[in-house]
């Protein structure tokens, strides 16, 4: 019994860590008013780039650094499309996911002699503990930033009533860029967890976690502490799945997180209030 509990806890933590990180990323974007369906894609990019650099250079910290830099660029590009060019945010997110799927496989073949997956040598791996600690630290940090700093106040204002923020002299574009780019970086960081934990990069290894992170966001009522709680619930479901997969067909076990997501979504509609301007591109009246 004790053993089962330990294993359960371990798997719960492992399962929830990427969700917390990605969820926090999504939080920043959505608080600023931009839906980020592309979290899945950003996670995949993060997983790929960190795995790539780690495998090629053997230096995990360099891998994280390069990955973060690249994801900042990607986040900025996504912001250009969704904020400046006012593309439909959901569609852009779907496109980003497709891009991630294709580009990672593409680059994998380029760098690894036509292989679609590759492994990371042991010495190049990062302890997953780092990610867990980071997740735990980021939750209170994000709460502070959102509630008690100027950046947080303005970011939230931009997501609730961009016109009011604009009239107050605040650049809606700037803060939305910040929100989106940060969400890309955090999601990328969340994605890096996966290859470092498993030791390899495989095709589409994020397996829908980015979408579950969105459910975590709704379940968590768009608050950092809520995201942590919600992620733990999903992590637990994940842990149960791993334990059960020995006893029931693996496919059914694999379905558990997705079913849980649906149930949570259905149960939480109406009780969770998103930022008022979520999903609506801001049209500035021409000068």
């Amino acid at each position: 019994m004790n053993e089962i509990l330990t294993v359960l806890t371990q798997y719960t933590v492992i399962g929830s860590t990427p969700l917390v990180l990605a969820g926090l990323g999504g939080l920043f974007s959505e608080k600023a008013g931009v839906i980020n369906i592309g979290l899945e894609g950003f996670m995949l990019f993060g997983a790929f780039f960190s795995a790539l650099v780690a495998a090629k250079t053997g230096n995990p910290l360099l891998a994280l650094f390069v990955s973060t830099a690249l994801l900042t660029v990607l986040g900025l590009v996504f912001a250009v499309f969704t904020v400046t060019l006012k593309a439909n945010q959901v569609v852009s997110g779907v496109a980003l996911n497709m891009l991630a799927s294709g580009l990672t496989l593409f680059l994998s073949q380029v760098f690894f002699d036509r292989h679609r997956s590759f492994t990371i040598p042991d010495e190049a791996k990062l302890d997953s503990g780092l990610f867990v600690v980071a997740a735990l630290l980021l939750v209170p940090l994000m709460t502070l930033v959102l509630d008690r700093t100027r950046l947080g106040l303005r970011l939230r204002a931009v997501g609730e009533n961009p016109r009011a923020a604009d009239t107050a002299g605040i650049s809606v574009t700037f803060y939305r860029y910040v929100g989106v780019t940060l969400s890309g970086v955090l999601a990328g960081f969340a994605g890096s967890f996966l290859p470092f934990y498993s030791g390899s990069f495989v095709k589409n290894m994020t397996a829908g976690r980015g979408f579950i992170a969105l459910a975590v966001l709704i379940f968590g009522k768009w608050r950092p502490a809520g995201v942590l709680g919600a992620a733990l619930v999903f992590g637990f479901a994940d842990a149960v799945q791993t334990l059960l997969s020995a006893h029931i067909p693996s496919q059914f076990a694999a379905m558990i997180p997705y079913v849980v997501t649906i149930v949570i979504l259905v149960g939480f509609i109406g009780r969770a209030v998103p930022p008022a301007a979520l999903g609506l591109p801001y049209e500035k009246e021409s000068k």
Binding site: I37, F81, T84, L85, K86, A87, N88, V90, V91, S92, V94, A95, L96, M98, L99, S101, G102, L103, L105, F106, Q109, V110, R114, G208, F211, L214, A215, P249, Q251, F252, A254, M255, Y258, V259, T261, I262, L265, V266, I269, G270
Partner: protein
Amino acid sequence: MTSVRVRKKKHLFELVALPCLSVALAFAIGFVLVWAFGFDPFEVYGVLLSGAFGSVENLGWTLQNTTPLIFTGLSVALAFRAGLFNIGAEGQLVAGAFAAGLVGWLVPELATRPNLTRLPFWKSVWFPFGAFTLSAWALVLMIWVLRVAFTDPVRFRARLSTVARSLVAFGLVSILWLTAPEILAAFIGIAAQFVIPLSLIAAALAGAAWAAIPGILRARLGVSEVINTIMFNFLASYMASYLLTTATFKAPGSVPQTPRIGVQAELASLASFVPASIQHDLAATRLNVGFLLGIVLAVGVGILLWRTTAGFELRAVGGNAEAARAQGIPVGKSIVIAMCLSGALAGLGGAEQVLGVHHAFVKDFWTGLGFTGIAVALVGQNHPLGVVVSAVLFGALQNGAVEIDMMTLFPRELILVLQALIIFFVASGSMMWRTILPRRS
């Protein structure tokens, strides 16, 4: 021309020019990408084009790839018109494909067997399961009747007709349940004759059902269909994966697939309809009449959207659901209908693949069809004609990708990258082009 007419012309131009320019730009970026990785872009693009259109056979392969994309493209486009994001076309396609695969296999198979009434299926599954469900139903009915009759006789009398209808329905279903073996035995011969329509209907129903749940959740509870349909995609995929491991559904052999469908369930190859000179080339492909079905459905969707009341209401809901509702249009019903139709279209796409191409339900044949369908719908500006043209484009790209894989050392995922870029450029719409192109006076 009045200013209104000028604006209309300009609008139409934008509708067509925008996707074309986006495709061109994406191709240009792809060109640079190929060159940046040390390959010859002309060679790669040359292979792409010749692979797509270079010969009759290649054109056949392209159109074969196009066909499922017409279905999923129409599915997504129809949903978009109603203001819904149906990301779940892939899952609905799987559901439809499975249904078609089952019907296409079972009906001809059963038609050859004697003694259908003695199948073990009846004793082990049908009767117990039915007994359970029917008793539960009867129990619920009884409890409700007794409770309401004794506590609120007024309401009971008002609902008497509903009760009567419930009882009649129960009676009919029970009779059907009891006589199912006999009915099947009697009609299986006829059914086998009509196995293609039956399979198609089954596929459409299955796809519609798979889409109905997210649709109902959206209509009744306001749950975003975006995440829900994505989840349902995963569920469909895993479900199908599992079923293909069970003895009931898996055909013997190493390939995870259902048993082959009967010959009468196969969709005829288009090769038999073309002049003899190109017949041989086309016969190498699996291009089948499903392609024509897709075209017909495209026309049908167009007629639905612009010539029927239902289409009018659907577009109204997509334009401004609040206003539609305030004007008496049943929004919830429209949403569910739109999702069901959307699912049915995707389901039929799955049927075409099973009945016309693979002749069985094969694991993972569906990968990417749903998401590409989204790209097709977007580039086609959610218009049936646009969807068909855009499906040809993407079908060509996919075919070209295979060719690139075979003839060059370049990764075929270039195509995925091109697709994503196309979506980005189309989605940023007029905004982007207004900043890049000079202002028209």
